[in-house]
Symmetry: C2
Subunit: 473 residues, 2 copies
């Protein structure tokens, strides 16, 4: 047996080091990415149970130059958490380190291990009487370590920020196998460089996050959801401004959905009863989280929507009467991804643009795509409150999806990303770079920034052991 | 003349390069730090007028190995923005680059040059109908570049965060004189390492911030201030929890002030009429920023204070009747620094501790100091909402201030900082490291973190040209 494997087994226990040589063991769950774009082959899957085990594993791998791919719930969308196909990389699965270490109510913080599933973290906060606001589709299986590694976004960013903004402190094992204990619950700490934010969003290429101290918030007394038909994207942006003004920090959700995206939900899931979409090019879902009570939240929403109707930026609107209706409206929003998959393969984008430029971006880019690909169908939706669009391109009706992707994906990406750059946006808003966009970065990232990124990587991981080939090629 | 000086004059214009050889020129304003602890001697003070001039200056200095000390309003409190006394360093004063480049109302952003005075930035936001919430004592002369370089805190952190949390994008000249254009107005951008936050708080040692895109917020419809007497620090922490729950994000200020601190204000500025302090060990100042109206804010405050009175964590309270009364209360809080200076020299600290541990920290540390220095007087006040205390130690009554500092400063610092570490706090919450605390960092910072900081500095500024000797010695 490989001596490294022997060492790893002595460090973490035989049962926590899995290899292809073990009879009856299937490593697919760790080797196959979520979107099934890539299947790698691991030298071993190691599942450490403590921070000191992680440190020892890194030291053992560093000693023999073996690359490490940190992995959480393996729900990433950019091929950043699975091994390559060489059979030489160790997958470091963090899921055994899933404890809630501490809750500090007076300090409004919770300290958890990296492998804690997001939904369990939400539940631990809830049980203590607090809100942990990070929320996203994969919350039942993604881990907070993965959320931090990729700086995940989700549905409440307009109020609470990305995962980055929810984190106060980290425990990290660096590429030398040393532990940095930065698990502070401090809101203010100006003693040197911001290593916390350097690690967050670095996709496991600069260090391995083993635990984190995250912010808690008071639970809102009431949460109300509204659904508004808007006559144009300009009107949606105008409505966003009114909502900021009227609801202030109560505005916790602002999602936009195009007519074609909603028509797919209506077509494939008619039981969801999509409201108002037939007569309008765009619908908006708004959420108001109130620290007082439901009556107050409802009065605020009604004032806002009346103003918006008067100003013409809303043509019709409904406010959910109860929690079940509210969940129903959110469920429609969240079903767009599945509905477009039912309709066939499509070219996905996760872009951000300054909110003020989104109307021009969409109008111009829709027109450019329609000229290039007659009959192309745009599945536009996203977190307009954050300037984040999932601007997806579906094949013309009846076209073969596979052929469409093969013939068009590269050209469509180039067209869309060039437009993103023209409007000072980002080609990856919330999903990260991973392996999927690593070739795009040199084309679209400021060259000075890229050079500084390379210098930082070289400084912190000179052997290029941590998740090589991701973020930086 | 020195050839570098000739080059700098050709780059920025003769009038914008000042040296000691110029007849009648006094460089004290750039060489003397705000608290008058250090007076350096500059080779030259250079005042570039554009980003490309900054880049050219850095290239010229790098070519001959001349160190650069970036400077904003020179209001820093830790000796981080003045030259050393060798006469070999160039002060790069950013104050000529003070333009507001753009305001984007729909995107809720403002883009300004680094030399823009904070008060002018606030005013530009206000004129456009928005709030820029960063606010601190030096706002009439500090610059946003300095605020970013030091990650300044201030009085509204409990709601809006530090300067770091208010910034979306930067333009930076790095140590090689290359410009990184990272001036995005994006709320989401996951295309690589977080260089923005790496630069923020790095005190000019990793790059020179030349411009920034900052967040704007809706202006609150009403702002109310209350003043509460609380029977103990435990009670103050309990009141903070109630305030978070009752006001949610409306809570924009939560300051605590000890009885002795307030008695100094009362003694030296009796006209300020400090309320409620005589019968209570601590007072708390609360601010509620409401997105509706004053009546709503007042009702919220009254409910909160009634609950707090019932629960016994407040013994008495007043709510300001109007804006002038509110300013009066804030003025008392802000006068503590001056009042303690009137009373005599003292040993200052800017520390943070998890909020939950502050009562134990204060009780223990007060007792330790009283045992060491009989008659010592504690000027305790600070941003309790952020866990940030200005925990200042005043000489016993009648003692000679100079002698007290000379005999006790080092021992008191060690005692306080050791206590801070015991309670998992930070020895510099909002002022930074500069030169003043550079020797303390190796004693109190996690060694792995410190090693990574050194690696990053070496990677980005291998010649050690940018503000050498600050942050890292």
């Amino acid at each position: 047996m490989n001596t490294l494997i022997t060492t790893l087994k002595s460090l973490c226990g035989d049962a926590n080091v899995l290899t292809h040589d073990d009879p009856g063991v299937d490593l697919s769950a760790w080797e196959q990415d979520w979107r099934k774009r890539v299947k790698g082959r691991a030298l071993a899957v190691v599942r450490p149970g403590s921070t000191s085990e992680v440190a020892a594993v890194v030291k053992a791998c560093a000693a023999c130059g073996t690359a490490i791919v940190p992995q959480g719930g393996n729900t990433g969308l950019v091929v950043g958490g699975v091994p390559d196909d060489t059979g030489t990389q160790v997958v470091l699965s963090m899921t055994r380190m899933n404890a809630v270490r501490a809750i500090d109510p007076a300090n409004l913080t919770i300290t958890v291990e990296a492998g804690c599933v997001l939904q369990n973290l939400q539940a631990a906060a809830d049980n203590a009487g607090f809100l942990f606001p990070l929320s996203l589709g994969a919350e039942g299986s993604c881990t907070i370590g993965g959320n931090l590694g990729t700086n995940a976004g989700g549905t409440q960013v307009v109020r609470y920020g990305n995962t980055r903004e929810l984190c106060l402190g980290l425990e990290v094992v660096n590429a030398q196998g040393e532990v940095w204990n930065g698990l502070t619950g401090l809101r203010k700490d100006n003693t040197g460089y911001d290593l916390r934010n350097l690690m967050i969003g670095s996709e496991g290429t600069l260090g391995i996050i083993t635990a984190a101290t995250m912010k808690l918030y008071p639970q809102p007394a009431a949460q109300l959801t509204a659904w508004a038909a808007v006559p144009s994207m300009e009107a949606a942006v105008q409505l966003l401004g009114l909502a900021h003004q009227a609801l202030g920090p109560g505005l916790t959700g602002f999602e936009v959905m195009g007519q074609f995206a909603l028509s797919l939900v209506d077509k494939h899931y008619p039981q969801l009863r999509v409201p108002l979409f037939k007569e309008t090019p765009w619908c908006v879902l708004l959420e108001n989280s109130d620290s007082e009570n439901e009556a107050h939240a409802r009065a605020q929403f009604e004032t806002l929507l009346e103003t918006a109707l008067e100003q013409g930026c809303v043509s019709d609107a409904v406010v959910a009467e109860n929690l079940s209706q509210a969940h129903g409206l959110w469920h429609i929003r969240e079903s767009i991804t599945m509905a477009q998959a039912e309709e066939g393969l499509n070219i996905k984008h996760d872009i951000s643009i300054p909110v003020s430029r989104i109307p021009a971006f969409v109008a111009e880019t829709d027109a450019l795509l329609a000229r290039e690909i007659p009959g192309v169908r745009m599945v536009d939706f996203g977190h307009l409150g954050d300037g984040n669009l999932h601007y997806n391109v579906q094949a013309p009706e009846g076209a073969d999806g596979q052929a469409f992707l093969r013939d068009w994906e590269e050209r469509v990406n180039t067209l869309v990303f060039d437009q993103v750059m023209r409007h000072h946006g980002s080609i990856s808003a919330e999903h990260g770079v991973g392996e999927l966009k690593v070739d795009k970065l040199p084309l679209y990232k400021d060259p000075t920034a890229l050079a500084m990124m390379r210098a930082v990587k070289q400084a912190l991981d000179p052997q290029n052991l941590l998740n090589p080939g991701r973020v930086l090629g």
